[in-house]
Symmetry: C2
Subunit: 558 residues, 2 copies
């Protein structure tokens, strides 16, 4: 597990093989830094999980070497696990100002004693951690104040792009600064770790500017109220709404807790500007003529409890959607959310709204580089070693092919998995170890790991419901008799099937009584009786109804 002192170490603890929970440990010899610590939203098989954070075992095992946590930008999949990390380890965190601003409330809630560990970095001012000289550089992404990180090491410069695209006309006026990069690595990078999210997509990612034009057109043409749903952190879209609002005499109200919070922080820090005071609260907006209102809201991913989804289900207290409303879903569905988004679109249309979304208008561009941009970065940095990051296996593989096509030696391209320990010396690199990178689950206040079959159990409960078998044994000696009652949940709503439960209970009762009459000692333990009851009951139910609920027996003897 110990890196050779003359070697570079790269250990992805999340974000490789999945989109989310990004976290990488990088360093040289005994000087390590962590880049990002984010959350992953669970796929459907992880019942009852709010989100997933990285496994910090490797951090614990190497805590004396780790000098700092560096944050590239303020998205949840890069900062969301930082409070959990700091609860366990007393590490300084360096983040661009907006990311620090967004982290603040999370730290206050979850790790208040470590809030002073947060530091804002001056992009362009290098910091030294032992043998590492770290410099943040600006990149364009779908949140302001996004950065990449360059680390000068004795072996050469390591460049981690963060999440980026090359937008020459970003709405926040800060394009990706790859000239800075060329300056930081004048002789090329020793190692490049680069964002793979859109490595399968040909061409260039369009500029945020075209969204601004498209949104502005829709808002200008709309007769009634306009609602715009987007990511809570997509500050540039909120700025667009404020700008178009000013232009066309509309006020802008913000809905959704996370968006309200982010807008407050971004306004305070100057990442969002409202020179004409168009921002008002929803109650005031509701008193205006609809043609004077824009509502910005969360819910662009169809999240069931979000403001937009509640509106689409007529369940929002303050906003009722109807004919005359124009809704813009200024986002594209994150893989896995397609059905939720499409359901929301359909429901809004059923209520009479005109809906613009990714399939019928240019109301969104994403924040990641496509193939040609990825090529540009590799060409500028001419890395000796290459590690594609931030993507599922398919994205990493596609990115590896790009690097190879641009002349990076095949044996110097490493498609890693979370937990791989990559060691790179002056002459060559290799995966020397694999450390734990398990999913760590967060459910409410509870942080936990799956050690057994809990998700299978939950899946079975979900698909068949549960029947509880209450077996009561009364009497003495050979006069013992059983009575069986059932309670079920999620099993059926069909009275006919409830009768089967009665019938099955009766059969189980008879069966147990027969055993009791025979007085066979080995059946007379509570465990023995429970086993008979469960099997008999489950088989009968399956034969009669074809259904397999979870059957849980309990035996009381009195």
């Amino acid at each position: 597990m110990q890196g050779d002192f003359r070697e570079l170490t790269v250990v992805p603890l999340g974000g490789l093989g999945e989109i989310g929970r990004n976290m990488t440990v990088i360093g040289y010899g005994d000087d390590l830094v962590i880049i990002d610590s984010g959350i992953l939203f669970p796929s459907e098989q992880y019942f009852g999980v709010d989100f997933i954070i990285p496994d910090f075992s490797y951090v614990a095992d190497n805590i004396e070497k780790i000098k700092a946590v560096l944050i590239t930008h303020g998205h949840e999949d890069h900062i969301g696990a930082v409070p959990y990390l700091l609860r366990e380890f007393d590490l300084p965190v360096y983040a661009p100002p907006l990311a620090k601003g967004l982290l603040g409330p999370k730290m206050k809630e979850k790790a208040p004693s470590k809030i002073d560990n947060l530091h804002a970095v001056n992009v362009g001012n290098p910091m030294t951690f032992g043998s590492l000289e770290v410099e943040f550089f600006p990149v364009s992404h779908s949140i302001p104040d996004a950065t990449g990180i360059a680390i000068k090491t004795p072996l050469g410069v390591v460049v981690h792009t963060g999440d980026f695209k090359i937008d020459h006309t970003p709405v926040d006026g800060h394009p990706s600064d790859f000239r800075a990069l060329a300056r930081l690595a004048p002789e090329g990078a020793f190692l490049l770790l680069s964002d793979s999210t859109y490595a399968e997509t040909e061409g260039y990612t369009p500029s945020e500017r075209i969204v601004a034009e498209s949104l502005d057109n829709v808002i200008r043409e709309a007769q009634g109220r306009v609602l715009v749903a987007t990511f809570a952190s997509l500050i540039s879209r909120i700025q667009m709404a404020i700008d178009s609002g000013s232009r066309y005499g509309r006020k802008v109200a913000i809905l959704g807790r996370s968006m309200v919070n982010n807008v407050r922080i971004a306004l305070d820090m100057g990442y969002l500007n409202d020179p004409n005071n168009v921002l008002i609260d929803i109650d005031r907006a509701n008193r205006l003529d609809p043609s004077q209102v824009i509502v910005m809201t969360t819910g662009s991913q169809g999240e069931p409890t979000s403001a937009l989804v509640r509106m689409s289900n007529r369940a929002h207290r303050q906003v009722k959607i109807g004919r005359g409303d124009t809704v813009i879903i200024s986002a594209s569905p994150i893989p896995g959310n397609e059905r939720l988004v499409t359901r929301t679109v359909n429901n809004l249309m059923l209520l009479g709204a005109v809906v613009f979304y990714d399939k019928n208008a240019t109301v969104h561009v994403h924040g990641h580089a496509s193939k040609e941009e990825l090529k540009s970065v590799i060409s500028i940095l001419k890395p000796q070693y290459f590690v594609p990051i931030h993507g599922e296996r398919r994205h990493l593989s596609a990115h590896a092919v790009i690097a190879r096509d641009l002349g990076v030696e095949l044996e110097n391209v490493f498609v890693l998995q979370d937990g791989d320990v990559l060691s790179i010396g002056r002459e060559s690199g290799r995966v020397t170890d694999h450390v734990s990178a398990d999913y760590v689950f967060v459910s409410g206040k509870h942080v936990w790991r799956a050690t057994g079959k809990i998700f299978d159990e939950r899946g079975s409960l979900a698909s068949g419901g549960v029947v509880f078998l209450q077996v009561h044994i009364q009497g003495e000696g050979l006069n013992k008799r059983s009575s069986v009652e059932t309670i079920s949940k999620g099993f059926t709503e069909d009275p006919h099937e409830l009768e089967y439960l009665e019938e099955a209970s009766y059969l189980v009762e008879k069966d147990i009584n027969r055993q009791l009459e025979m007085g066979d000692e080995k059946f007379l333990t509570r465990e023995g009786i429970a086993k008979i009851a469960r099997e008999k009951f489950a088989n009968f139910l399956y034969n009669e109804t074809g259904k397999r609920p979870t059957v849980m027996p309990s035996v009381v003897v009195s």
Copy 2:
């Protein structure tokens, strides 16, 4: 509910507002026919449901008027519910030969006594049902032998397109015959019902021919074994594999029960041709050099129990994937399946296979018309009335816009919902009623409706697990004492949390004993004790762990 004798009636019972369970009742006066009766695959909130079928209440209420069931083609979302329909109603079914062939085994399994109700239609030969003259016409789609249906009524010709695209170079050699249509409705259609699935997509859907070229290239270049995953019913892709196999000296093995069945039927009926006898079974294929083998398999949607997914998890008995294998996923994910498909692609890559899929190669085209094709059909038929069918609300709305743009009067375009009863007279149409079009669920052998909150209950069980509280009251009068035990499932795997269950049980015990000591009659019923136990227990757990499992108490008194 009674249609005016001089009116046309259109009642969609499924397929409008969703992709699946297509079923429409159409007729004139007292002569009605059913077009299609398919299944819908459930979205994630319908725990434990295999599939969803239409509600047949309207059929039951109008059974004396219904003359026949007409089937457009053999896809599950058009034929899957036919056995369930025929189990309840003795109706003749008319289907194109392949659809009849595919229906056969389903009927044998689920409605064997009605198997003789199936009849193959001669496309192009009209049939008469009372005042209706019905003629099937060929269309191109992603299964051979797909049709649309023209119905001559006293008011004019009604055209139902079925699922179609305009493919001038289909692999099966049968392009959509819209000249036949022009002949059937020489003065234009009175009413057009047209496939809306891709009404949001600009341009033309590419020909199946380009997939053939692309697959052929991959197979020609591959060094090792080639696996091709596609829909079990996509006979043309299987034909492509057989053709490429013949060309490059490879044998073809078929895996996956549904594909094996379909291939057998299609070979028997002549929809699939294997002149060089390249089809062999998998055991023989496994004895050949990998360079001589193509494996066709199910699993293109990432279905967890499919052959391809088992291969990707190293759980397939007969096929082990590894370096040297080329896998082609010749399908695109149906909305909702994206995560399952992407997980399969990632896992195959992790095993070392080269994977071609919709994002990195042209290995699939879908079977539905895009905007320009939809315009062609409307232009050819110049319908007086228009009902977009087969789509979610967003697709139907997009299609309605197309029809309006092509000159169909706005008040003659009806964007319907399942269950709407549309009545069209000579002068005008209107929705006159709304009948039940509930989801009917199929789980194994069980066909059922949700009348209450069963899916909410199942969702709660899945997200928090269940804790069963076994309360046993023993003793007499004021000496009664309780003992409480717990059994849980899917609640936790954390020993620390299991301790909380102990602690909570102890508190509940104490609480009940206090009530028992006070001898308060109103707490001494089983219901009263159960209520106290549940509340006390659930609150304690929530306060200690933040978790809310389903808590089910049962009280035994002895």
